[in-house]
Amino acid sequence: MKKAILTGLLAVSLGSALAVVPNNTHVIMQSADIVSLDPTMIYDTSSGALGENIYETLVKYKGKSVSELEPMLATEWKVSPDGKVYTFTLRKGVKFHSGNEMTCADAEYSLRRNLVVNNSDSGNWFLSEALLGTPSNANDDNNITWAKIAKAVACNNQGQLVLTLPAPDPAMLVKLAFIGQAIVDKKWAISLGEWDGTEKTWKEWVGKDLTDSALSNKPSGTGAYQLVRKDASTYVFKAFDNYWGGKPKIENVILQIVKEQAARLEALKKGDADIVETGPRPVLAQLQGAPGLKVYDGIPNNTATAIFMQENIKDPAVLGSGKLDGNGIPANFFSDVNLRKAFAYSFDYDRYIKEVLQGKGTKRTMLLPDSFFGYDPNVKQYSYDPQLATAFFKKAWGGQVWQNGFVLKASYRAGSVAAQTAMEILKANVEKLNPKFKVELQPKQWSEFLKNAQQGKEPMIIVGWAPDYADPDNFLYTFYSSNGYYYPRSGYKDSIMDSLLEQARKTTDRAKRKALYSQVGNRAYETAPYINVPAGVGFVVYRDNIKGLEENYNIMLSGGYYWKDISK
């Protein structure tokens, strides 16, 4: 009997050894939870990766490009000469998963809903900035009225969607390619109890947290896949029969949330998953050469990371003596450009690429991904040069820095090995130049780190930026403008830079805009507000029977590729 039970158990178990993902099915494993499947709340990559396959936007990135767009739910669009009116002709014969036909009313409802709700957890601030002239919602900005929202987004008599902007925004179209601006099924949403789309009720929905909305639980989009089932750790999708672009080759998609990295890697090797979240680059060594796996390496990096040098430190507690006496620093320590340049020449960029990025990284001339429009590779850049660093340290503060030395407190996010190594490289190189130089490194919890940095209390930090939309303004204004989001963290204010950035964000002529961003890069080199940390390249590991993944991989997509574009 015992033998029979054991044999039975083994047989039951052995069944699984033969299990591989069927050819009509795509299995993805990742660690991150899905926040929401309601486009108005999608702002994280995990939710975005699913949203991109359920819903569609008016325009999308063309192939692998991050600067060219092509039609999706809009077949064509016209921009008025003053750059303030966008008119979209919508695709005909497009069905939602519910069976409803997409019309302009759906597009109008979707974008108005985003402007109305504009929850603080969402990415709708940049749509609101473009269409209403403010990133805030109506609870925080009394100037927002229903009339303004209705005027900004409306359908005309020809069934076209018309967007009216208060000022030209060259990034308007790429903002619409963000999955949060996807078109939702108005009738379906209303039937589930979502906002009814009227002036009468709009105020009740301002700022609402719709993470777990009825629409999130029962989404209906125009995308190639529809959600069939979900539980705490699994999402199951099937191909949408009435998809306007033709039924995709992969019929089923299963997303499994598996927090343990070792479990995900084993599943990938065994063929129980087609693609998994692998973890950092050192993991690649475990997977390279494994049978049945393919590595797609060298994926461009669409983030930018910098070491900030705060020019107006607002916390006396971190200044030590508060003077240039060798026991601390003054609050405006980094206001001297010579000092910033000295630090920029002290960072060993090549060593960072070798040690942290395992040799797979590039130096950047400006804090903008090199694949983005506006990036100028010809802008001069800093390199590790102890002699030049010494020369600039000697010039800084009339020689006082070199003569008396300093104690500088630099922080990084606790747990980030890359950030820690970058800071350690800088510390070692700076301290090597003069025994009177002291850099004290402090790992900090993220929330504390964010709060202090945003209040200008951190003398030196390392932080990155990931794009909301593929436009140089999203990076360069954020980092370099004194009205930008990172200004409180850097305290960098330069009137020439501000003027260039303001001009560029209003210039619709691409050639002129590109020239302006080259000037921004050059000005950044001259004034050295940040140390540009080299950017690594990405990689994915997937089963080798999957076709079409690399050809269609786009770094602006949260999931990297549309499921409809792959086959087995």
């Binding site: 178990s13 699984s16 129980d272 919890q445 504390e448 932080v463």
Partner: protein, 342 residues
């Protein structure tokens, strides 16, 4: 006995009150910005930190925040967990049955094996089986759960391929579920599949339970083995055992009916706590094997300072602990007739 149960259950609201005040008060040591971390998933989102604090009232005084929570809770709304992206009550409803399922399947081998080996060891003090049991308990009791789980996963799934991978179902079963879904009755997928007569799904869930159950059984067994062993040795030296032997009862009857029954009293306490622990979510085991239970959510909520999530999770554990204590007390009376409820 009924009055005893009612009295003990009346204790529940007090536990809930004390726990909730304690947790909300403890969380006040974190700054509003730290508590807002639960709402932020990227650097970009951090731009809205002040708005998030304002919207969710994270900067209000302790008593206001607590009162707001009580008002909501009184209406059956335990708040919204930002780590599960669902209301707390919905999260518990969705995930708790999976935890109960894992606990139920672990319980039989855990208690059965632990008591069996402990009894054998006690009966054979200092003999080979006793030495083996002690070494086994020391070794398995000192292996961290995550090490045991990963070793089992890598060896039996990765290398030998005789156990299924992470999750509750294989891809084929997921597709079967899509075509022919198992209706949710208890929320425990294996039981629901059994009720629906869906054997392929049932077997698939059972297969996926094998490694997590072995992990839990192995790691948690040590305490039970050692306590059972010690209690058995102590019971065997008691006068009543000698009397029973003198009466001419068979050794089996003496060992099982007289000695072990008395030896099980402390074992019941340990087992009760272990069940409470299992029902509170086997955090690491659930995480390693991708089991969608309550433990992985609790860990996530704590790591992200998700206040409603932490509160909901802690209260659930509190209730489980009170109820399990009650069950242990009732078991005491069943095992030892000298124990009365007054």
């Amino acid at each position: 006995m009924f009055a005893f149960i009612v009295r003990r259950l009346l204790f529940l609201p007090v536990v809930i009150f004390v726990l909730s005040v304690l947790i909300v008060a403890l969380l006040q040591f974190l700054t509003p910005e730290q508590r807002a971390a639960a709402y932020i998933r990227s650097d970009n989102q951090a731009r809205n930190l002040p708005l998030i604090i304002k919207q969710y009232g994270l900067d209000q005084p302790f008593y206001v925040q607590y009162w707001n929570w009580v008002k909501q809770a009184a209406q059956g709304n335990l708040g919204f967990s930002k780590s599960s992206n669902k209301p707390v009550w919905d999260t518990i409803k969705e995930r708790f049955p999976s935890t109960v399922e894992l606990a139920l399947y672990s319980l039989i081998p855990l208690i059965g094996f632990g008591v069996w080996l402990g009894t054998l060891a006690g009966l054979n003090k200092n003999k080979f089986i006793d030495q083996f049991a002690r070494v086994f308990a020391v070794v398995t009791g000192n292996i961290p759960t995550f090490v045991m789980g990963i070793i089992l996963l890598v060896v039996f799934y990765g290398l030998l391929g005789i156990a299924p991978g992470p999750g509750q179902l294989s891809p084929e079963s997921q597709i079967n579920q899509m075509i022919n879904p198992v209706p949710r009755v208890t929320g425990m997928l294996s039981i629901d599949a059994l009720l629906a007569g869906n054997w392929p799904i049932f077997w698939d869930v059972i297969r996926h339970l094998i490694l997590p159950v072995i992990t839990l059984t192995t790691v948690l067994n040590a305490g039970l083995i050692m306590v059972t062993r010690g209690s058995m040795i102590e019971a065997l030296s008691q006068d009543y055992v000698r009397t029973a032997k003198a009466k001419g009862l068979s050794e089996r009857a003496v060992n099982l009916k007289h000695a072990r029954r008395n030896a099980l009293l402390p074992v019941a306490t340990i087992a009760g706590f272990q069940v409470a622990g299992l029902l509170g979510g086997a955090v690491i085991t659930e995480t390693i094997f991708g089991w969608p239970g309550i433990g992985s959510w609790g860990a996530d909520a704590a790591a992200r300072f998700d206040v409603p999530g932490i509160l909901g999770f802690a209260l659930l554990i509190g209730v489980i602990t009170v109820v399990m204590n009650l069950v242990v007390d009732i078991m005491y009376a069943a095992i030892d007739p000298r124990v009365r409820f007054d």
